[in-house]
Symmetry: C2
Subunit: 191 residues, 2 copies
């Protein structure tokens, strides 16, 4: 998605330690108008698929998922990162490693909100090592629901997550695939 | 908002300890189509106001805020609950007490995303004791920006938060105001 690549080049910031900050439009401030363009693009890519639910993970996936969901006319379910006292009853769980926050946490989805007849599209902001995406896929398969695919805004294509998940047979559509980036701020995308 | 009151009565669940669970359409699964009705209502209520930004707090505020923001054509900024290694530079901070999670945490907003010429509408799912809302108001006033008001989906009107914030001179619009609720599941709204 050319528009996204241009926006990442213009507004993204590359930091030491393989960090790409897109806080000005994705992760802290959300450019809602731009997210609608992203929603249209995911709809175009998955137009041939029946989808009953969008699954994402808190926190930064939620805003994107809600805007995208409007184009599929389905509800969003977001996996929660810790067991809240507000969640009673049975949940599906898996473990996710955060390289940004340098820790492993549990994610949960209430069994009420994932059923075996659901056809689920996963939406998330980043794909790097694939830990969050694998965790979300496990929640869906534990519910015996169908993983229709994953729509990712930015994939760090030089990391292993994309290949890992595609090799599991899951369709992954990333709107921008970063081939390399360097501290001087230059970002190269996969053609 | 009658539609919301009906939905809370139908889909909300009252639990021991003053807990109202609206996980099926607000806090875990998000009914995006319904959130659009909420967006229209906030736009109607704040139609006379100039707004440049919507501020909310992660995680459950984000989805609502993004849908609402479409009616105001402004970006969303969400306050983060812990200092992430992804956030460099200066931030505004305040403290928020969570009664659900029984702890106090710091919330932050990068100074990049709140400026003194901003006119900010706060959007959040719940107002009870007012701790999150006061924390968000502090972030805005620390930035010398203007607090236009707060749009709350559900206010527990029998708790002190609403009066506390309105007494500060902040306009608070709550779409459903709960007068009382009891363990048998009955919910009474303020007229």
């Amino acid at each position: 998605m050319k528009l996204l690549e241009e926006k990442i080049r213009r507004d993204g910031k590359v930091f030491e330690g393989n960090i790409l900050k897109v806080d000005s439009f994705v992760n802290h401030q959300i450019d809602v108008k731009f997210m609608n363009e992203i929603g249209k693009e995911f709809k175009r890519l998955f137009a041939d698929k029946e989808i009953t639910k969008i699954l994402t993970i808190e926190a930064s996936g939620i805003g994107i998922a809600c805007i995208v969901a409007q184009y599929f006319d389905v509800p969003v379910v977001f996996a929660k990162k810790t067991k809240s006292v507000n969640i009673a009853g049975d949940v599906y769980t898996s473990k996710v490693e955060s390289f940004t926050h340098k820790r492993v946490y549990d994610i949960i989805v209430s069994k009420e909100f994932l059923h075996k007849d659901d056809k689920v599209l996963i939406i998330d902001d980043f794909l790097a090592k694939g830990s969050a995406l694998c965790g979300l896929i496990k929640l869906i398969t534990d519910a015996q629901a169908e993983v229709v695919g994953a729509g990712i805004v930015i994939e760090k294509a030089y990391q292993e997550g994309g290949a890992l998940v595609r090799n599991m047979g899951v369709r992954v559509e990333s709107l921008a695939q970063i081939k390399s980036m360097s501290k001087d701020g230059s970002i190269e995308f996969v053609d």
